[in-house]
């Protein structure tokens, strides 16, 4: 009965959406706003990657909210999973088998380096702060695999998190006071298109986001791993 009613409700929704979709043809050329972004994105923001120029330039405020959402999730996870008595820190951590342990030790710096590359080049190549941060967090996931009981240093990770977020907000407020009185406006010189040192505040924000997301996701994994032991 419940299944039948659910299917019926979904069928009604599907019918409605299908009628709207006839007005949204697939694969046809895009709207004028998107054309504007593609054509002027490079001059306006100095980023070759137009998605980056949308994410951090035209719609930078969304990204600020997005960073806040992730911060909320990390904090909320900590609040929900906080045990009344703080679990005593595991003194020694036991490594897994030699092959796994050595492999993790070898791969860890490489993965972190790769993550850093992704977010530093966010304005030039596909990728950016969130992607790079997720890669860095995966390196920490690997350490849990190779080393049972190993923990992220909580004070350090929350300091990085906090500084990353603050950098974003302060850069935005600097735009408010420096140039043109707009929040998050590009007040640094744009530099030469396609160079590493270009794009004004975009690489700075992406570095901050990358570090923040990396430490946040690593913290989330850390909390959940701790809970399951």
């Amino acid at each position: 009965m419940r299944v039948f009613l659910s299917l019926l409700a979904l069928a009604v929704i599907a019918l409605g959406i299908a009628m709207t979709l006839t007005d949204i043809p697939f694969g046809k050329p895009k709207a004028d706003i998107a054309t504007h972004y593609v054509e002027n994105g490079r001059e306006d923001t100095g980023a070759v990657n137009i998605i980056t120029s949308v994410v951090l330039g035209y719609r930078g405020f969304d990204t600020l909210g997005e960073v806040a959402v992730l911060f909320v999730a990390a904090m909320g996870l900590g609040a929900v999973l906080a045990t009344g008595t703080r679990t005593p820190k595991a003194n020694g951590w036991e490594p897994a088998s030699l092959v796994l342990y050595t492999g993790c030790r070898f791969l860890f710096p490489l993965i972190v380096l790769f993550g850093a590359y992704i977010f530093i080049h966010g304005h030039l190549t596909p990728g950016g702060g969130f992607q790079g941060g997720a890669i860095i967090a995966s390196a920490f996931l690997l350490t849990y695999l190779g080393c049972r009981g190993r923990r992220v240093h909580e004070a350090w990770s929350s300091a990085v998190e906090s500084l990353g977020g603050l950098t974003f907000v302060v850069l935005g407020l600097a735009g408010l006071t420096a140039a043109g009185h707009y929040f998050l406006s590009a007040f640094l010189p744009a530099g030469t298109l396609g160079q590493l040192f270009s794009g004004g505040i975009i690489p700075l924000i992406y570095i901050a986001i990358g570090l923040k997301v990396g430490s946040e996701l690593a913290g989330v994994i850390d909390r959940l791993v701790e809970e399951s032991q």
């Binding site: 299917l7 694969g27 054309t35 998605i51 959402v69 999730a73």
Partner: protein
């Protein structure tokens, strides 16, 4: 046939959305509901991406100077999906954290048994 070709991506995206919604409506295990939520999110993201696609388009990145802006796909949905994915991760993390705690308190994840609060 051309109808199916024109709208194939939409069928995929909304297929995922409805599968996710159906799981959430029908299943009683909290973990399965969370899996349904995850599928639903994926479907919505896929739909957003397919809204911005143009046939034979390229990624909107000027890796060479001679690229044709008119063939680039719409960058806005991609930026939106980036945000939507992060939000999905955040909701998922919260849901799993609550599920872990709920299991510790009740010893079950069956939503029919977790019913102390009534109307």
């Amino acid at each position: 046939m051309s109808f199916l070709e024109d709208y194939a991506y939409y069928f995929g995206a909304f297929g995922l959305i409805f599968i996710g919604l159906l799981i959430m409506l029908v299943k009683h295990n909290l973990i399965k509901v969370i899996i349904g939520l995850s599928i639903l999110d994926t479907g919505v993201n896929l739909f957003l991406i397919s809204v911005g696609y143009i046939s034979n388009g390229t990624a909107p990145i000027f890796c060479r100077d001679d690229m044709d802006p008119s063939r680039m796909v719409d960058p806005v949905p991609q930026a939106l999906v980036l945000t939507a994915i992060v939000i999905g991760v955040a909701v998922l993390a919260m849901a799993l954290a609550i599920a872990v705690r709920l299991y510790q308190r009740y010893g079950t994840l069956d939503l029919r048994k977790i019913k102390e609060l009534r109307w």
